[in-house]
């Protein structure tokens, strides 16, 4: 905004501020429906889980520092590696992507004032928090998941795992799945219906394409997981026999159901990273993305093809030859959309005039790691090689290059990139670069030698290993690398935390960014946009005339929607103005509903069936009250 604000505009801004203001203090945070506050809640919660998952990882690495060490016993080790996987995948990467980044940024990027369903959004967060607390109650009670993150039966059945560990796993995932599904639906509707008039689908930022693809993938991938988990709990809690071979069940049924979810999940993990990369690269390369339509198409295709490749996780279980060949071919096909995106990023960097500042460095690190992880991934489509190397450290190396290198790096890059927007301050560039190099070197030293020990025959998931097999030196290097990696990430947090208080003021647009969020003050006001922005390309911030038009419209009071708690909706494809809808505001109902569900799951894991039924009824009652109070037409 300009320094001297004309009084007419100031009156409008005041009015908008009053309309969108939420209760202050703790009550404000507990009842909020504002997508930015919810995004921040998601961010801080997922950072805490990231810390927990990181501590678990360091414990695992410390135990494997040398042969036959006694830092963790077999039981503790199995709980740690299982919980590490579950935490990082279900409670860090996915909720940080869609819950924190998606929530905070998608409405800003499409020029909306909030998510499509603000109260459901709050509900998503509280459910997510409660499910995480539920899981970690199990962890701290000594009943952490202990059958691995893919929890194969019959190892995870009552017979071989009689404690409540697997119940905590299954119920926590069912519980958190409610949150993920709700967030996905919210993102889909927001992207389809809440785009600023003029932002037709071909003018939508690639970031939103990625989040649209992820959301659809989640909506379709979670049901098979939920089915698998419900069948498992029916077996464990109520004596059914879906997976019990002795009673006519099938152990492989679990694997199929799990991986029908689990492989799309891999792309669900990586696609937000692609979206963040395609936001940061054009800004710092100072040019538009090369091959925009191809990249948009590739993002959608990755999510779609990801559903047809699940059995490549099962090449060693003895499937028929025809089955393995089909799934290997399908797995190779998915290389194509990834290749398109990879070379689109690289070509954009080559043809642009890139400024290698901290956020872009993390994206370059991401590209390098994604190539390594992608190439080792292609090797697994060679069936005999897969059968040789699956379930060894080679796989561990592969998926850490993909999940840590290629999914977490853009998330950290994104944290740096949008930090000035969210906080209004700049971070320390030198510390930022140092944190990148520490993490990059740490990750390489941690994860690259894992390829080698895998090839040298070290299976994954063993709590200890004998000396004399050529594995010792590599394991030592991996452990040292993991400490360096941890230090690098800690430096990111320190840098951002200190800058939050002492950073220089950032201004609206410190990077000369391309998308709409850079047109508004930092941090953004509660109503986001004083005037619903005009959009005529996917790079609205580089369309100077449109932004000047916004200024004139604000002065004239056009499209400012200052009479109520409102946001405009538009048609799905062309984004023609549809109608102005009233948005719900702060409410206790989402938090209460989530608490009832938490009580329900607590009763299930402790086998109090009647009480569980009672809380189920109460949850329904709260939802009833909640909807009694919804504004008309929302």
């Amino acid at each position: 905004m300009a320094v001297a604000i004309p009084p007419a505009i100031e009156r409008r801004l005041d009015r908008l501020e009053r309309i969108w203001e939420e209760p202050s203090g703790l009550v404000g945070w507990l009842t909020t429906t504002n997508h930015k506050r919810i995004g921040l809640l998601f961010l801080f919660t997922t950072l805490l889980f990231f810390l927990a998952g990181g501590v678990e990882a360091l414990l695992i690495r410390t135990q494997l520092l040398a042969p036959e060490k006694g830092v963790l016993g077999p039981d503790a080790f199995n709980q740690m590696f299982s919980t590490h996987g579950v935490t990082m995948i279900f409670f860090v990467v996915v909720p940080m992507s869609i819950g924190a980044f998606g929530n905070y940024l998608v409405p800003l990027m499409v020029g909306a004032r909030d998510m499509a369903f603000p109260r459901m959004n709050a509900f998503s967060f509280w459910v997510f928090l409660c499910s995480g607390v539920f899981l970690y109650t199990g962890v701290f009670a000594g009943h952490a998941p202990n059958a691995g993150w893919f929890n194969y039966v019959p190892l995870a059945s009552k017979e071989f795992d009689p404690g409540p560990n697997v119940d905590f796993y299954a119920l926590a995932l069912l519980f958190s799945g409610i949150s993920t599904t709700a967030t996905s639906i919210n993102l889909i509707v927001t992207i389809f219906k809440l785009r600023a008039p003029g932002m037709s689908i071909n003018r939508m930022p690639l970031f939103c394409f990625a989040f649209l693809a992820v959301s659809f993938a989640l909506v379709f991938a979670l049901p098979p997981l939920n089915v698998a988990l419900v069948l498992l709990e029916l077996e464990r809690l109520a004596g059914f026999h879906f997976y019990d071979v002795g009673s006519g069940g099938s152990a492989l049924l679990w694997q199929h159901l799990f991986w029908i979810f689990g492989h799309p999940e891999v792309y669900i993990i990586i696609l937000p990273a692609f979206g963040i990369a395609t936001s940061i690269i054009p800004t710092f390369a100072r040019r538009r993305m090369v091959a925009f339509p191809l990249v948009a198409l590739a993002e959608i295709l990755v999510a779609f093809i990801g559903f047809g490749v699940w059995a490549h996780h099962m090449f060693a279980v003895g499937l028929t030859q025809l089955t393995t060949i089909y799934f290997a071919a399908a797995s190779l096909v998915i290389v194509i959309p990834s290749g398109i995106q990879l070379f689109a990023w690289i070509t954009t960097l080559v043809t642009g005039r890139p400024r290698f500042k901290t956020p872009l460095l993390w994206i370059v690190g991401f590209i390098v790691f994604f190539i390594v992880g992608g190439l080792s991934g292609i090797m697994f489509a060679a069936i005999p090689f897969d059968q040789q190397m699956t379930d060894t450290y080679f796989v561990v190396a592969h998926f850490h290059f993909v999940i840590f290198g290629a999914a977490m790096f853009p998330l950290v890059g994104g944290l740096y990139y949008w930090f000035p927007k969210v906080s209004g301050r700049l971070f320390d560039e030198r510390l930022g670069k140092l944190s990148f190099w520490l993490t990059f070197v740490g990750a390489t030293v941690t994860f690259f030698p894992m390829h080698i020990v895998g090839l040298l025959g070290m299976p994954r998931r063993q709590y200890t290993y004998p000396g004399g097999l050529g594995w010792t030196g590599y394991n030592l290097a991996e452990t040292i690398g993991s400490y360096v990696l941890g230090a690098g990430l800690l430096l990111v947090v320190v840098n951002l935390a200190v800058s939050l208080r002492c950073g220089a003021p950032a201004g609206d647009d410190p990077w000369e960014g391309d998308t709409l969020e850079w047109s508004i003050p930092s941090p953004p006001p509660e109503y986001n946009y004083a005037v619903i922005p005009t959009v005529s390309s996917p790079y609205p911030m580089w369309d100077r005339e449109d932004r000047e038009l916004d200024e004139r419209r604000l002065a004239a009071g056009e499209m400012t929607l200052e009479r109520g708690h409102e946001t405009p909706t538009s048609s799905v494809e062309d984004a023609n103005l549809d109608e102005i809808v009233a948005m719900p505001s702060a409410s206790w109902a989402p938090l209460l509903t989530a608490l009832m569900l938490a009580a329900l799951f607590a009763m299930l894991v402790t086998r109090h069936w009647v009480a569980a039924g009672g809380f189920f009824g109460l949850a329904f009652a709260v939802v009833g009250v909640w909807h009694w109070n919804e504004p008309e037409g929302a």
Binding site: D75, P154, A285, T347, I378, M379, L456, G468
Partner: protein, 347 residues
């Protein structure tokens, strides 16, 4: 280890090309050779050799892609203040064509080649063998946490140490008695899972005499880390002698102490979990001990099979391998010593 050195022609050209640049990979290969290794580089049969060769070709391809992509990133850094593509300038169709060429056309061609080589040619050799092509069958049963080996047609049952004749195509039938395990001896072939209710098959073949280490490679619970095995490949005559002995009932006892050990074994809980053929011990929980004295290791390669280690194992099995199914029995030192004397005698 007596692993045979590979003939020169089998060293893929890929390695030579990479040799100069990839010092790391050379270190990797050297580290793989050594006594008792379980390395996928120390191959001793056609299937694992083909897989290794496939791997090096894939590494070659991967190195080209990685090197090219990193070179492009380097170019973007060196030209960070100039826009456009070298030689072509700022022509958008050129940039798009580059994306289509590198992202679509070249991958399709390369991947088609990889698919044919791996999933048609190599896979023929690593697939389950045709029943008519093998000359003997061995059954493997994965159990928490040891391997049981049976030789159909004989009474031989042993644990963790699998004896096979060299240069013989063996049809290995892999099953499980409890959870999922995975049989893997990387020097001889790829792995195969042991799935409840299924009998999976794989070819086992060793070119040369030697011992080849293997390990369970599907997470199977507390002692997944201590579920190893060793394959002893022996010339046919030596193997036949071993099998004849292994199939016979437990040998006669020579000493009074061994006889006393036998009595303790039968009267204590031992006999309810272990089988010793030719005696009343018919338990089916733990490994068959009929010829345990002839084995080199105990508890799935966790400890060597010496009198001292066996005594330690019998006295406090939970200290050696926490969580395993063998309870610590309250035996006097004398009883333990007698049992060890008895079991060591069972060769």
């Amino acid at each position: 280890m007596t692993a045979r050195r590979l003939p020169g022609r089998l060293r893929p050209a890929a390695r030579r090309v990479l040799g100069a640049g990839a010092l790391l990979l050379a270190v990797l290969l050297l580290a793989g050779c050594g006594d008792g290794a379980q390395s996928s580089f120390d191959t001793n049969s056609e299937p694992s050799r083909l897989i290794e060769r496939l791997f090096w070709w894939m590494v070659l391809g991967a190195a080209v892609v990685f090197g090219g992509a990193v070179a492009l990133l380097a170019i973007s850094w060196f030209r960070r203040s100039r826009s456009g593509i070298p030689l072509f300038g700022e022509r958008e169709p050129v940039a798009t064509t580059a994306v289509v060429t590198f992202g679509i056309v070249i991958p399709i061609l390369t991947l088609a080649g990889l698919f044919t080589a791996a999933n048609v040619l190599v896979m023929r050799k690593t697939n389950a063998p045709a029943p008519s092509s093998t000359s003997m069958t061995i059954e493997v049963v994965g159990r928490q946490w040891f391997w049981e080996f049976r030789y159909p047609g004989t009474d031989a049952v042993t644990a963790n140490e699998l004896h096979i004749p060299t240069q013989t195509r063996i049809n290995l039938v892999v099953q499980t008695a409890d959870v999922i395990h995975s049989f893997w001896v990387p020097q001889l072939n790829r792995k195969i899972d042991a799935i409840p209710g299924k009998s999976n098959r794989i070819l086992l073949y060793a070119d040369a005499p030697g011992t080849y280490r293997g390990q369970c490679s599907e997470f199977c619970g507390l002692q997944h880390a201590h579920m190893s095995l060793r394959v002893y490949a022996e010339p046919k005559a030596q193997f036949d002698g071993w099998l004849r002995n292994e199939a016979s009932p437990a040998p006669e006892l020579a000493s009074a102490e061994a006889a006393r050990g036998r009595d303790v074994f039968m009267s204590e809980a031992c006999a309810s979990c272990h089988t010793i053929r030719g005696t009343e011990a018919r338990g089916e929980v733990g490994p068959d001990l009929t010829h345990v004295g002839g084995r080199q290791t105990l508890a799935a390669l966790t400890i060597p099979n010496t009198a001292a280690d066996m005594a330690k194992w019998i006295t406090n099995p939970q200290a050696v391998k926490p969580g395993n199914k063998m309870p610590g029995l309250r035996l006097t030192p004398d009883e333990t010593k007698a049992i060890v004397a008895y079991l060591q005698r069972l060769e």
